[in-house]
Structure formats: structure tokens, C-alpha cells
Symmetry: C2
Subunit: 398 residues, 2 copies
């Protein structure tokens, strides 16, 4: 183990007394982020004004930061760009992938995919017309459902509820075997464990930066296009910054070389600055060390909860190769239980209808926090203290 996780933990601001097991939803604040954003605001925007696009490198930021993300997901350098939101990147990837299988009409996904991915596919299918349709099967049935009617397989590698992990290499290989393409949504993968999107055959990969990568609320998304496709696809969202010569102001769209064509509009410079600060922490992290620590802490959490909370049912697969980073338990009163836990300073989250979700993020979570979370959860379950009206009242964002 070469990664020093006590050192990475010191690089985050974590409120005193809080155990934060929700880094899979919104990563905590890197201590250098405020200063980096302040510099972008006062030093760059304030002093350079419009000249910041050249002199502060704002225009190149989406590609430069993309290269740093490429390293974390096992993509070739120069084939990832940042921008927009994950839903927008899903739309772009899907519209592009469908062009590469022009005679087919089926987008295959699974019922465990994040709803926004499914919604974006529905919106695109409706826009395309011509019998395009989204077909969803159970997560376990994806492999068997990939046949030569399928144009594109669109899968989130780790299920946002169950924490179940798909086999990227196997599904990609099967897709290619039948002449289909595959899009991997890495929302719960990037920064959670080692990835090899190039080697594992992803045609496209997309993800967000505000979860495991810790870029802050509303941080930009990323998109990877395999080099073999990057110059072939005609972007559906053909914005000026994906143009070959944006400042020539040509009347006709002509895509930039490679993945740059997936840029759309003006990049979110302030959010990208926060992401840059967050990525500095990753420079000292070996993702294999991170994975080993995550699995060990996950096992410890499962053992602790199962020993003390018999009514909580483990939803996440026990097998290491079948799970991502989070550990999920089900309980019919999951919402109230999670609120009671949060009131005690242990933050996980709830996903309808009945999932308690705990992100195991070794960059800032260790055995002490896992044991503390188990103790709090066990106390709540044993005492039944979750059974109060204030814990059952639903907030807007769950």
C-alpha cells in the first residue's frame, strides 16, 4: 500500500463530530478548493476579465481537466472533455452511438439504471422518432438481452440503489459480438475504484465529478469517446465550442477533431476551478489501494450491521467483484431510519422505495468512522428511536 489515507483525509474539511458516508452523492470539500475558486474569481475574472479565456487558460480547461479524469478512468489522454451535466453527456453519447448502428432501433438498459439516464433516452427516442425505443430488463438479464436487434447498450456500471456492479469487459465484449455499441455511465465508478474504459471496450463513457471526485455541488460532467469513433460521430448538441474553429464564426457547423466536438457552450470556469483543486488530491492516490481499503471497510460495515441490526437486509452483493463502493441495506422504514441516523451525525442517504445507502470512501473514511456508524445505527434500531413524526416527514430532496 503506497497511498497514505490519513494524509488524504487531512486534505478535506469535515465538520467536527460528523461521520460522512455520502461521498457517493456529494463529495466533501477539499481544503484547497475555496482558495482555488477565489483565485479564479478575484485573480482571473476580476483582473483579467475577458482576457482570462486566453491568459488564464479557461478555454482549454475542459480538455486539460479531462486529461486528469482520463487517467482515473483508464482512458487514453486527449479523449475526455468536461462540461455540462451528466444527463446532457448521456444524451450526447447516446445520439452519437445510435449513428454508429444506423439500422437498429433498440436502446437496451436495465431497471437499475439511474432514472435520468432512462429519461434522457426516452427524450432522445421521441425526438428521433422512427421507432427508436428504450428497452429495460433486470440488471441480471442484461447480458442475455444483448442481441443483434440492439443498437446501443446503455449501462450505469454500479447500481445507484443496490451497489451492484456490472462486468464492464464482459458486457462490452458481448455488445461488440452482436454489432452493438456500449455506453458506460461511471457516476458511481469514477474515483470509486480502478477503471480501464479503453481496455474494457467502452465505446463511450460518461460520469459526474461531484460524487467520488469531490468537485462540489453542480460540478461538471465528463465524456469519453473511444478514439475509433471520435472523428466519426456528428454531435446532436452541436454547440460552437465543439466547432472546429469557434472563433471563425462560420455559418455552418463543422465538428472539431476528436472528443473536442462534444463540447457545447461556455465552460463553467468556477466549477472547473473547484474540480481542479479536488483532482490534486487524486495525484497521491493509487486506485488499487483505494479499492482494497474500500472493500475491507465495506466488509467491516456489513459485518457490524448484520451483527447488530437483524431487520436490515443487505442489498449489495457480498462478492467483491460484484459490488461498487457503496453498501446498501433495505428496510420498509428506511427513510425514517436514515433521518434518525442523520440527526445523530451519521450521514448516509435514502433512495426510494426502501434503500439506506452508505458510501464507503477511504479518502476520508476509515475504520473509526465505520465503527461509529455501526454503533449509531445499531442504537437507533435497537431503541426504535427512528419511529417519530419528525423523521418520517419527507424533505424535498431525499
Amino acid at each position: 500500500m503506497t497511498t497514505d489515507f490519513t494524509a488524504t483525509k487531512r486534505q478535506f474539511h469535515l465538520p467536527e463530530g460528523l461521520i460522512y458516508l455520502d461521498g457517493n452523492s456529494l463529495g466533501p470539500l477539499p481544503k484547497t478548493a475555496a482558495a482555488r475558486v477565489a483565485q479564479a474569481i478575484t485573480g482571473e475574472w476580476g483582473e483579467l476579465l475577458i482576457r482570462g479565456w486566453n491568459k488564464a487558460g479557461w478555454m482549454d480547461q475542459p480538455s486539460k481537466v479531462g486529461d486528469r479524469v482520463a487517467r482515473l478512468i483508464g482512458a487514453e489522454a486527449g479523449h475526455v472533455v468536461m462540461g455540462d451535466t451528466l444527463s446532457i453527456k448521456v444524451y450526447q453519447a447516446l445520439a452519437s452511438a445510435l449513428q454508429l448502428a444506423p439500422k437498429r432501433r433498440v436502446i437496451l438498459s436495465d431497471t437499475g439504471n439511474f432514472p435520468s439516464d432512462l429519461y434522457m433516452a426516452q427524450g432522445l427516442a421521441q425526438t428521433l422518432g422512427a421507432d427508436y425505443r428504450l428497452k429495460t430488463v433486470a440488471p441480471e438479464e442484461v447480458l442475455g438481452a444483448i442481441d443483434d436487434t440492439v443498437a446501443v447498450v446503455m449501462i450505469t456500471e454500479v447500481d445507484y440503489r443496490s451497489g451492484r456492479r456490472h462486468d464492464m469487459a464482459a458486457l462490452s465484449a458481448r455488445a461488440h459480438e452482436v454489432g452493438a455499441l456500449i455506453i458506460w455511465d461511471l457516476a458511481h465508478s469514477a474515483g470509486a475504484f480502478p477503471l480501464q474504459v479503453a481496455k474494457d471496450g467502452a465505446d463511450f463513457a460518461v460520469g459526474c465529478s461531484y460524487k467520488y471526485l469531490n468537485s462540489g455541488p453542480g460540478g461538471p460532467a465528463f465524456i469519453y469517446v473511444a478514439p475509433r469513433h471520435a472523428n466519426l460521430v456528428q454531435p446532436a448538441l452541436s454547440g460552437w465550442l465543439g466547432h472546429d474553429a469557434p472563433f471563425a464564426f462560420d455559418p455552418d457547423y463543422r465538428p472539431a477533431p476528436g472528443v473536442e466536438r462534444m463540447r457545447v457552450g461556455t465552460p463553467p470556469v468556477l466549477q472547473l476551478a473547484a474540480l481542479e483543486a479536488a483532482l490534486d488530491i487524486w495525484d497521491s492516490v493509487d486506485l488499487h489501494d483505494l479499492r482494497a481499503a474500500c472493500l475491507s471497510l465495506g466488509d467491516r460495515f456489513i459485518a457490524g450491521v448484520e451483527a447488530t441490526c437483524p431487520t436490515l437486509r443487505l442489498v449489495t452483493p457480498r462478492a467483491h467483484d460484484q459490488r461498487g463502493s457503496q453498501i446498501s441495506f433495505a428496510h420498509p422504514e428506511g427513510y425514517a431510519i436514515m433521518q434518525a441516523l442523520i440527526a445523530q451525525g451519521v450521514i448516509g442517504d435514502f433512495r426510494a422505495p426502501d434503500i439506506l445507502r452508505f458510501g464507503i470512501t477511504p479518502l476520508f473514511i476509515g475504520a473509526v468512522e465505520i465503527d461509529g456508524a455501526v454503533a449509531a445505527l445499531s442504537q437507533i434500531m435497537t431503541s426504535g428511536s427512528w419511529d417519530r413524526p419528525e423523521f418520517k416527514a419527507r424533505a424535498k430532496v431525499t
Copy 2:
């Protein structure tokens, strides 16, 4: 005149000795923005973590900020939301508008429209197939070209090069007369002069916040959907935050009521915080005062340049009702002239092929700055000091 423009100027950080005539491209830094963003980072993200979505109001930010923008563009409250980039909002508006004229296939725009709007229309037309097409005519020919073959008229109210302003009420009325819809891009309008999108018949309006509204590089865009359409359109970019119940995680998309359906993914909380600070300045501004000051300063600038720089040709219409806020001059060596001017501390910008563009923004520009800019430009033109290799070498971003 009730607006105190010396007071608004004090609310911006403006580098010493610089005359900034490029607020039409990137507005300057409001002095309170750094602290507001720092609070979002350290006070909200740092301390609340995931709870910020409820407790800091992040989830409602796009609508709350949208209401403040609505006031500036003359839209009904509750009918504007923030998010994404302007190009994305153009795509959404266009895809929605085309649904409302289902038997027609022509998107009409003009050759003076910002290229990204045209590109997005080209991308959407290609995605839709079925003979959808973009038709462009000269700006002066738009009115005459609106006939009953046109599904949607898509116009940027103020031409980004010439500064020529279209007649919103007249074009909207003509579009409706022939059963077409109209989308107004307010990139160079919002914060530049009083607007009445509702009264003037806009079906959709979109715009960005980083120009006249001063939200900083990459600030979010806005979209307005007329109340009469807002519950009828099926979003093409059907993201989860535009769903009627995002946290129910339904497998099927069901649009939220009204303009909320135009939300897509996670809002850019940090960029929105900067915009909130910028909008505070607008609370003390009467847009009619702003317009009067802008026209008067524009006239002063035109008179000064024409008196001293005979080789610069005025491109912007002299008539007040036919121009926006910027003043543009053409010169074959416009690029080098602008670089020479910037080197002297007067910042405007250049737009290919030959346009020198000057933003007249009374919030922080007065007669002293106008006279200073005229003096510098006149000195450069008289001495020929622009004619140097360092001024002719093109930067990536012009």
C-alpha cells in the same frame, strides 16, 4: 433618473487604469461575488455537505434566481429557470417549439444570428430528420420571410456583430399571424435594456448571464417558456430535475409542471451563487435609466470616433430604436487595431471578419471612460501603431 450609476460602478471591481468596453462579452466582477461564492463553498458545501440541497436551498436556486431574471426581461414570475448553457437552452426551446407546429419543417433564422444558435438548429434538424431544415436570410429580410411554411422563427434580438436590434413585437406578431412560433435569444439584450418578452409575444426566450448580467465566466443560462405553452411541451432533454417527482425515481419520465420541466441535471451551485451576487446590483437599477444612459454614451462614442478615425466605418445603426447596447465599427485590420487598443488598456473585442466591438454598459462605464477610449483609439489610428506583428498574431480566443 432614479438610478445612481456612480453607485453601481462602485459595486464592481475594475482594474486600475483599465477602460472595460467588453461587458457585452464577459461582465466585470461584482465586489460581493467572491464572498458569496466563498460562503457557498465553506459555509454551505463544507458544513452542510449533502444537506445543502435542502438546507441551503440549492435545489430551488434555479427557479428563485430565474424569478429575478424574469423581472429583468419582462417575463411572468415563475416562468424562467436557470441552468446549462445558452446553446443547450436554444436546443430545448427549439425542440419544444417545433412540437407546437407539427406539420411544418422550416426553422427560420438570420445570417446575423450567433453561430452557436444556428449550429444547434442544424444538429436538432439532423437529429429530427424528416426534412426539418434551417433557413437563414439577411437580418433585414426576416419579416418578409415569415410565411406559413415556417414552424419556428429563431432570432437573436441584437446582432452580436453589428449591434443591430430586431423589433421583437413586430416579428412576434408576424410569426403568430402565420401560425409560427418565435424564440428570442436575449444574449445581448438581458441587462442591456428594458425587455417585455411576455407583452411582446415571445413564445420562448433564452439567454446567458455572464454578459450584461455579470455572473462570471461560465455562468448559467436561462429559459423562458410562455405560460400558454409551458404545460404542453414535452422536453427533448428530459432530465431528472425536470421530472414531476425527481426523488420518486420513477422509471418513466413525466414532466414537472410549467417551466420547471426545462431543468435537466444538477444545477451549478457555485456559478449560481456568483449570479445571485451579481443580481443584487440590479435591484437598484431602473432599466429605462440604463437604456437612456447607454444610448447617450453610445452617441458620444460614435461622434468621438467618427470625428477622429475616418477609416473606421460605423456598422451599428444610428437610430436608437434599431440598436442594442454595443457599438461596432468595421476595419479590414480590425483584429490588429483591437489588440493595439487592448495593449493601451482599453478593452473591447473583435469579431471576424472585420468588426471592432465596444460594449456600452452604464453600470460601470461613463463619459470619462468613453472619452478615454475615443482618445486611445484615435491615437492608434493616427499613429498607425496597430501595424505591428505582435498585434496581428491571432490568439486562440478572439
